[in-house]
């Protein structure tokens, strides 16, 4: 099947593709006018129903080709950084910026935006399908962590699907891969020659001072992708991301082309890093917290270099991005402010907890930080909430003044915190999002941190928007 041909088979039927496009657009506009939301998915859903090959057909119209970004954690942020870099170059991409990352979100962006090139974050499970449709110019892959096992299945099985998708991509497709995640790095190995695939750029961390003191509980990639023997780790930075090798077959972490060689983390304020790039070094200042966002920035830098942007200009664009991201992260509420940090799986939650630990150790947080944690179990969160027992909430034991637990599984969140050793009299349970937020605002000493799962984040943003405190997310 050819997927890059923009005319042919489908044009023989009626109505023509143009009419289907117009219909889907009109439905999206009507949906937004009705104020019921859903504008980031509905037009794409309609279009794909009318024309299953719509992504291929519209994607083929992008003269500059498409970039696909996927990962368990950080795909929205990474794609946002790449978009900011391209925009600063005068190349604003067609981009599913609201984070709607299944086929219908990609189709909606293609339908409603104009631009010379595409940039799409894609859900892990949908990556093979979207890559096959778009025939991308570049695939950027960040990490694979255990996440929503009820939906995605096991990481190893997902890694196999990704390997097939990469193998099926045309020879000219570039790759930007995380050298520190063995599941990802191995995708750059050509199984026929055992050599790195042509056009692969690796990124990673080369600053040993950022190593974890010990391996975390949610440690996912244990076995060599080539021979099945357990990996040996010299250091780990985030979950199973680190410096590894196979003592049996000698498989090694590839030397990263884009590498953070000196990193300074400053809690919620952000971080700075010296980054080695092909032919030199750049200084990067990030407005986003945590080592996980350093990885996102490295992915974005590698991607931008592959897309032809000069490294110095990448650094400048990341610096200038500060304001836009800062507004999303911290919002004034009541007499204080709330900083929002998504948690959705053990590896991501562990990084958020590490960042909050830094905050708790600074002046303002010395009396203990205030938290609002919302655990939902809707389909987009994963129905299974077992994962909270794999996240290391213990790192904040003794550092929390008060926590309000919310969401559809609020009592189970509270129980997890009790068994992490948090005093029970500092834990409140209020499943309702609005009521619990009010309780958190009333009880907080100034600033507090909101840790919602994905659908709880959407509810929180809607609530803040309804109160005039933040823009609605699909605008």
């Amino acid at each position: 099947m050819s997927v890059t041909v923009a005319s042919g088979r489908a044009d023989r039927g009626a109505p023509a593709f143009g009419a289907k496009r117009a219909l889907a657009r009109a439905i999206g506009a009507a949906s937004r006018r009705s104020g019921r939301g859903g504008g980031t998915t509905l037009p794409g859903r309609v279009l794909l129903r009318l024309e299953p090959e719509a992504i291929a057909r519209l994607g083929a119209g992008l003269a500059g080709g498409s970039t696909i970004v996927s990962a368990t954690n950080g795909k929205t942020t990474t794609a946002g950084m790449i978009a900011a870099i391209l925009a600063a170059e005068g190349r604003p991409p067609v981009h599913n910026r609201a984070g709607s990352n299944m086929t219908w979100g990609v189709a909606t962006a293609l339908l409603e935006q104009r631009g010379a090139e595409g940039l799409f974050e894609v859900d892990e499970a949908w990556l093979p399908r979207v890559a096959q449709q778009l025939q991308p110019r570049l695939i950027v892959l960040g990490n694979l962590f255990r996440d929503q096992l009820d939906r995605y299945g096991e990481m190893e099985a997902l890694a196999e699907e990704w390997a097939k998708a990469v193998a099926a991509a045309p020879a000219g497709t570039g790759l930007a891969l995380n050298a520190d995640d063995p599941l990802i790095a191995d995708l750059g190995r050509d199984p026929a020659t055992e050599r790195p695939r042509e056009g692969t750029l690796y990124f990673g961390i080369d600053d040993h001072s950022q190593a974890l003191p010990e391996l975390q509980h949610a440690f996912d990639a244990k076995h060599c992708r080539r021979c099945g023997h357990p990996y040996a780790y010299e250091v780990a930075f985030v979950g199973h991301l680190g410096h590894y090798s196979c003592p049996n077959c000698g498989a090694q972490r590839p030397r990263p082309d884009v590498a953070a060689t000196r990193i300074e983390l400053r809690g919620m304020e952000g971080s700075s890093a010296t980054v080695r790039v092909p032919g030199g070094e750049i200084e990067v200042a990030l407005p986003l917290p945590g080592l996980y966002n350093v990885y996102n920035a490295l992915a974005a830098i590698a991607a931008a270099i592959k897309l032809g942007v000069a490294p110095e200009r990448v650094a400048a664009a990341l610096r200038d991005m500060r304001a836009a991201f800062g507004r999303v992260e911290t919002i004034p509420i009541g007499a204080g402010k709330v900083s929002i940090l998504l948690i959705k799986n053990p590896a991501g939650a562990n990084e958020v907890l590490r960042t909050l630990k830094l905050e708790a150790e600074r002046g303002e947080g010395a009396a203990g930080i205030d938290l609002w944690v919302a655990l939902n179990d809707r389909i987009a969160d994963g129905r299974d909430v077992s994962w909270v027992w794999d996240a290391d909430f213990e790192v904040l034991t003794g550092a929390v003044r008060r926590v309000t637990c919310a969401g559809t599984r609020a009592p189970e969140m509270a129980l997890r915190l009790k068994y992490a050793g948090w005093p029970e009299d500092r834990i409140a349970v209020e499943p309702d999002i609005a009521a619990s937020l009010d309780a958190a605002v009333a009880g907080a000493a100034g600033r507090f941190f909101a840790l919602p799962t994905y659908t709880a984040l959407l509810e929180l943003r809607k609530l803040l928007a309804d109160r005039g405190l933040a823009k609605e997310f699909w605008q």
Partner: protein
């Protein structure tokens, strides 16, 4: 008094946050002044049947489960059989439950199991059995509900000597057809309710603590009641998620 726990393959069989069960047992012992000793036994390591009174095995990815199945039969089967025959408690969850049986089918292969329960796990056409689940069991002498989450591709069927842990109230259970869930023989318990099952069912945690202490000290102890308000709310929340 001391609760002595051995986790089998804690590095391999931990995919659904199985460590939550161990933490839950540990805290409930500590709060009652009961000692808590924990060890893990990985591939190649032998097991002393008299050293521990509660054995735990969780769920793993297919690749890990294949390694574990062979090693378990080779290095641990005899000791585990002896411990269970001598009254030790064994809780096997998800993949660990599958490995209790006579055999376990993985792809085209049929792996030998521990043979501690008269059951077989096979692959059948159809989707994985995934979702919130609630079962009713008389493990504790009276009908009680266990609530949790299941996610398994394999279907488990009993031979004539096996009896279930409970009856499915909501969810799929052993195979999605016969309404049975888990296996129960003396102090051996296997179930598809995976990962942190004990935090959702504090009564089962206390039941296991009692069984293990009885084996060590010859008498089933009365456990000091704990302020279990959050535990009861979590149980209710897990039941409600299953629709019970």
């Amino acid at each position: 008094m001391e609760l002595r726990v051995l986790s089998l393959y804690p590095e391999q069989m931990n995919i659904y946050a199985d460590r939550g069960n161990i933490l839950f047992l540990q805290r409930r012992c500590e709060w009652r002044g009961i000692g808590f000793a924990w060890q893990g036994a990985g591939p190649g390591e032998s097991v002393d049947p008299g050293e521990h009174d509660l054995f735990y095995v969780g769920g793993g990815q297919d690749r890990d489960q294949r390694v574990v199945a062979a090693d378990m039969v080779e290095t641990k089967r005899a000791a585990l059989a002896a411990a269970v025959a001598d009254g030790a408690a064994l809780l096997a969850v998800c993949g660990g439950y599958q490995l209790l049986g006579e055999s376990y089918q993985l792809g085209a292969e049929t792996l030998p199991g521990l043979g501690l329960a008269d059951l077989r796990t096979i692959r059948e056409e159809g989707p994985r059995l995934i979702g919130n689940v609630a079962i009713e069991t008389e493990l504790d002498g009276e009908p009680r509900v266990l609530a949790g989450f299941e996610n398994h591709g394999g279907r488990t069927y009993f031979g004539p000597a096996a009896r279930p842990l409970g009856r499915v109230v909501k969810g799929h259970g052993n195979n999605g057809t016969d309404g049975l869930e888990g296996v129960w023989r003396d102090n051996l318990i296997g179930t598809y309710l995976h990962g942190p099952l004990l935090p959702k069912n504090a009564w089962l945690a206390d039941h296991l603590i009692k069984l293990a202490l009885e084996r060590r000290y010859g008498r089933r102890p009365d456990l000091e009641p704990l302020p279990d308000e959050l535990e009861r709310a979590a149980h209710a929340s897990a039941r409600a998620a299953a629709g019970v």
